[in-house]
Symmetry: C2
Subunit: 305 residues, 2 copies
Amino acid sequence: LAAETAFIDQLRALATHDGARGFSDDAAVVDLGDTRMVITHDVLVEGVHFLSSDPPQSVAWKLVAVNVSDLAAKGARPRFAMMGYTLTGDEGWNSGFVEGLRAALIHFNVTLLGGDTVSAKERSLGLTMIGEAEGPVPSRSGACEGDALFVTGVIGDAGAGLALARAPGTDDDNPLIVAYRRPQPQLEAGERLSKAVSAIMDVSDGLLIDAARLCEASGVAAMIDLDAVPLSPAYRALHGDDRSARLNAATAGDDYQLLFTSARPLPALPCPVSRIGRILSGSGLHLHDAHGPVPIPERLGWEHQ
Amino acid sequence: LAAETAFIDQLRALATHDGARGFSDDAAVVDLGDTRMVITHDVLVEGVHFLSSDPPQSVAWKLVAVNVSDLAAKGARPRFAMMGYTLTGDEGWNSGFVEGLRAALIHFNVTLLGGDTVSAKERSLGLTMIGEAEGPVPSRSGACEGDALFVTGVIGDAGAGLALARAPGTDDDNPLIVAYRRPQPQLEAGERLSKAVSAIMDVSDGLLIDAARLCEASGVAAMIDLDAVPLSPAYRALHGDDRSARLNAATAGDDYQLLFTSARPLPALPCPVSRIGRILSGSGLHLHDAHGPVPIPERLGWEHQ
């Protein structure tokens, strides 16, 4: 991990353009002519970001959706995609992938412009997505002391679904597994929120680790009420909602919800939103629930995946 | 290979946008606001596109250069890049890569905007490059009967260099190995040529296979004079320039020269240019040299890498 951090730091020295946002934001922002482009690139590696047993249709969905989620956090509208695809010789898998890709492109109204197809031993799928934004594009670095901290949707379903999907005898219709395989990025919420938030990012690696990143980027601390972290009925039915269940949900990742701070009234949103804490001066996370302070878990979520 | 072709065909059905150019061109072309963007994405896989023994500095150079070469073929000016990088735990390799990446970005005046760093077993490096073009962007499909066929620079050096680099006891300063590891895309020539050509593409998989692709895209045939294929002194010194040496050069790949057709006078170019043939009606390639017709070799270059 030290080597990885060192590498990222070396790379960051190349982020000399303001629009690169120090490689610390969900997406880059550049003006080209009269257009404000928001650009993101995510890679999914088999065995790391998806399971060999995941249907290729849903892997394609996820490849598109995780990039859309980055644009959602910037209030940007997805437009174009370029894909890097590793051909591994499994014709059925490839066909299923194209089927899922078509569905996702149509669903999110994204145009695939091209890319590259290469032979490889390992499946490693890259997608660049270019979106368009109007006006200032929010970052994850604007949180201020006194702001409230919010999250959209529910947290923990995808993590619970991953655990189920790893076990034999998977029920493909289980809503937790569906949450893991087919994330639903909060595109419309992101667009409506972009002018009302002080900081915003998507939750991809875990609520707590991503909240810690938002705090670090903003130079602030956060107090999070674990009891306010929104859990789904399916999650509660499987894991309950005690402190341990909530900590699991908040460190699981793959939620693709929006985490944001604001001191202003929120616009109407097409999804549930929960106030889960507030921003303090200082640094780092503080957790509490009805029983009092909660020790910060050692693992906050996924590190560099 | 049949499976790969089937996959590409399935993908091509998703190329519904004009700018995707049927996934058959070097790059996609889209207008965003008042800006004409030219976008390309290339992936390099270790053991397929580069050798494990290649210095990481030159792998980074190549990753940038192959994308620049696609833009050169469109007469576009490189602007921005997004990278997908697989971290494989070799700290020295990663540092060397960043060093080479910095040099290449500066050389080609490209801004790295961001990307994704993932854990993986296999090195698979993806880069999306966004360039800007003015006016109509040439394609590979406009060649007409009667046009002359040209190529820039020399052909075959990189292929000869690859063979040398595969052998033990490599001399890193050998110009053929340098040609293989550090391609020099014809960016300025591409910009000057863009208004003078009927069709243009870069030579990446081999002169003959790329000429065949240009002909197929244009619905024409080509007669190529093998004796006119430009060879370097270093290539001649190693392999001679008989028919077999010339066929090897013309099917070797990794040249990153520009192959183009025109019926008009050419602008002054900053590099050598050779007239290697002419465009005929019909389809496919015809080869000849001073000794008469040359049978078309079974392998024209690299297929889907």
